[in-house]
């Protein structure tokens, strides 16, 4: 039977009578947990920002047609030759269209799928941007401005105006900021394009966008889908890409595969498209945790030392307690509860410290060319981190207290009393 009120009152007296040491030990935990919270909130905030920088450009599933050689070459259709070993030299890709066949019925069909949140059509084509004698090659994407602004992050990156302004002008174009800079163009100016059909076309700049990724900003522009269809001299059902967003991103690879096999299209899911990105995130997380754990281990050693010292000072007390009827377990719990009290107090203060620091960072201005929508340093104040923080504080103080308290438990009172 364990009498907690007695054990805790003894632990409390021990801690209070060594107030300075207790404070030092608790501060060790506080700094460990505080810096863990700050670090992990800041790092994951940064991660999320960097991820979204790329991932926001990527739909959950991107459906398109790719130029590729036929998987079934004509020779395989000849039954007489099937059993043989056929070698075909110099295979060339089949002349096939970039358009998605039956795109409009396909969109309707996909929209009925309960897993799918949105299907946004696009028409892409290569163009040259022309200004005076210079020509810059690039990509113009025909979009449905209403759908884009509802289902993609395009609007976040538009510097002046919005994708809606495309609706209001029949010749409007949203230009990448990199191109605008190179060609010294501003909103309201006109830009000339050379179409794949080698025609010259003049469009009015209704807005500029900046994603922060130079590759995109230096080459891409958006206009209405009908405009691109017109440039390519194609009908209304000419669609080259479908961007699909899902309700649950985890389903992306499964649904992408379904679409690819059912409709004979290329369907790339977000995870495949950004595989290398995951690695970066994982490594950054790894560093965050390695640093935090190191901090906590250092704090843990602090507690271990202080408890060890305390136990040496308290040899007499331990002997008396044991002589008057406290069991080894009671004595162990007295010292364990001291460690845990240090852990709880230090840990809670650490959480508050972390909260304060992250709020401070969250207020700190952070302006960068590359990220027009971000004005302060990113912080991801996830409650899970706070839970992990306090659990870690308890766990590390528990470990730090374990060895010294076991030592206290095993102290032989007779040898102490005799040693007096």
């Amino acid at each position: 039977m364990i009498n907690w009120s007695v054990i805790l009152s003894i632990a409390k007296t021990h801690l209070l009578s060594r107030f300075k040491q207790t404070v030092v030990a608790a501060l060790g935990v506080t700094f460990g947990i505080g810096s863990y919270i700050t670090l992990v909130c800041f790092m994951t905030g940064l991660n999320r920002m960097l991820d979204s920088l790329i991932l926001n450009q990527t739909p959950h599933i991107h459906v398109f047609n790719e130029v590729e050689p036929s998987k079934k070459q004509p020779i395989t259709y000849d039954k007489a030759l099937v059993s043989g070993f056929n070698i075909i030299h110099s295979i060339k890709p089949k002349q096939n269209q970039l358009r998605i066949t039956n795109a409009l019925p396909l969109m309707q069909y996909l929209n009925k799928n309960p897993d799918i949140l949105s299907v946004v059509p696009q028409v892409k084509t290569q163009v040259f941007y022309k200004s005076g004698a210079t020509e810059i090659s690039g990509l113009i994407i025909g979009i449905d401005p209403l759908k884009e602004s509802r289902f993609s992050n395009l609007d976040d990156y538009i510097l002046n105006g919005s994708s809606q302004s495309l609706l209001n002008s029949s010749n409007g174009i949203l230009l990448g900021s990199g191109i605008a800079k190179k060609m010294v163009l501003q909103v309201g100016d006109r830009i000339q394009l050379i179409t794949p059909g080698n025609e010259l076309l003049s469009l009015k700049i209704v807005g500029l966008f900046q994603t922060g990724i130079a590759e995109i900003d230096d080459s891409r522009s958006y206009t209405k889908i009908s405009k691109v269809q017109q440039i390519l001299m194609q009908p209304k059902n000419y669609i080259t890409d479908l961007n699909i967003n899902l309700k649950d991103i985890q389903q992306a690879s499964r649904i992408a595969q379904e679409i690819a096999t059912q409709h004979h299209l290329n369907a790339v899911d977000i995870n495949t498209a950004n595989a290398q990105f995951e690695t970066g995130t994982t490594i950054r997380n790894l560093i965050t945790y390695a640093v935090s754990i190191t901090l906590l281990i250092v704090a843990g050693f602090g507690i271990y030392n202080i408890l060890n010292m305390l136990i040496y000072e308290k040899m007499n007390d331990i002997a008396i307690l044991k002589a008057t009827g406290f069991s080894g377990i009671d004595v162990q719990y007295i010292f364990m509860s001291q460690a845990l009290i240090i852990g709880i107090v230090g840990g809670i203060l650490g959480l508050l410290l972390g909260l304060g620091l992250t709020l401070l960072i969250d207020q700190t201005p952070f302006n960068t060319e590359a990220l027009p929508t971000i004005t302060t340093y990113p912080i991801n104040n996830n409650p899970v981190f706070y839970l992990i923080g306090i659990l870690f504080a308890l766990f590390s103080t528990f470990l730090a207290g374990l060895l010294p308290s076991i030592k206290a438990k095993n102290i032989d009172p007779v040898s102490i009393i005799r040693g007096q």
């Binding site: 307690l321 002589a323 008057t324 009827g325 406290f326 009172p413 009393i417």
Partner: protein, 225 residues
């Protein structure tokens, strides 16, 4: 007559620094209400014997009985509970928890036993302090009182759980003759009125002469009984 405490053929060896037998075949019994003193030259093994009888030292040969129950070989948890309930121990040197008040020191073993509420324990503790004439010190820190006062606090603590036997290792060693007499009277009264058994190591002949029985020890053996 039944014994409260009975030792049968207790032998104890120290292996370090060199093998050496401290206690040689010690057998004796203490009856209920009996006030016994142990005398003997310094170094003859009195304290060693007392540690064994108080169940704190378990490293010995022989058998120890309390009210005919075998104590030898019981596990540590049982022994600490047993000490808490049945044995009051007063050390050769005063042993108190320095950071606790006098009152808390006296109350701790009773709080551990948890037979009475905190308030009841406090009343009992103050009663014991009064009996020893130190109730004024109740709220002082144990580190702030004199050696003789500490010894009386330790006696009060030994009495708090109303044990069946008190063992004392020179409990009056630090007291002036007036207070030593007072402690003797308290012990005598408890043994007469409440049937408390006492086993007290002392170098004080006057003290020993007034007890019911003197156990004379030399070189780890009992000379007479």
């Amino acid at each position: 007559m039944k014994y409260v405490l009975e030792a049968k053929n207790i032998n104890k060896y120290f292996k370090k620094p060199k093998p050496f037998q401290v206690l040689k075949d010690i057998s004796f019994g203490i009856k209920k209400g009996e006030f016994t003193s142990i005398m003997g030259k310094s170094g003859c093994g009195k304290s060693t014997l007392l540690y064994i009888l108080s169940t704190m030292d378990t490293d010995y040969k022989g058998a120890l009985y309390f009210n005919d129950t075998l104590i030898t070989g019981q596990d540590k948890k049982f022994l600490s509970r047993f000490r808490n309930e049945h044995i009051g121990f007063v050390f050769q040197f005063h042993y108190l928890l320095a950071e606790f008040s006098v009152l808390e020191n006296v109350m701790l073993p009773a709080k551990k036993l948890a037979q009475f509420s905190k308030d009841e324990i406090e009343v009992k503790a103050i009663e014991k302090l009064k009996m020893l004439g130190i109730e004024k010190l109740a709220l002082k820190k144990a580190s702030q009182i004199s050696g003789g006062e500490k010894q009386r606090v330790a006696i009060a603590r030994a009495l708090i759980n109303e044990p069946s036997i008190i063992m004392g290792d020179e409990p009056t060693g630090n007291l002036d003759s007036h207070n030593a007499l007072n402690v003797f009277d308290i012990f005598k009264k408890l043994s007469l009125k409440e049937g408390l058994s006492l086993l007290i190591v002392t170098h004080d002949h006057d003290f020993a002469k007034k007890t019911d029985r003197i156990i004379e020890m030399s070189d780890g053996c009992i000379r007479n009984s």
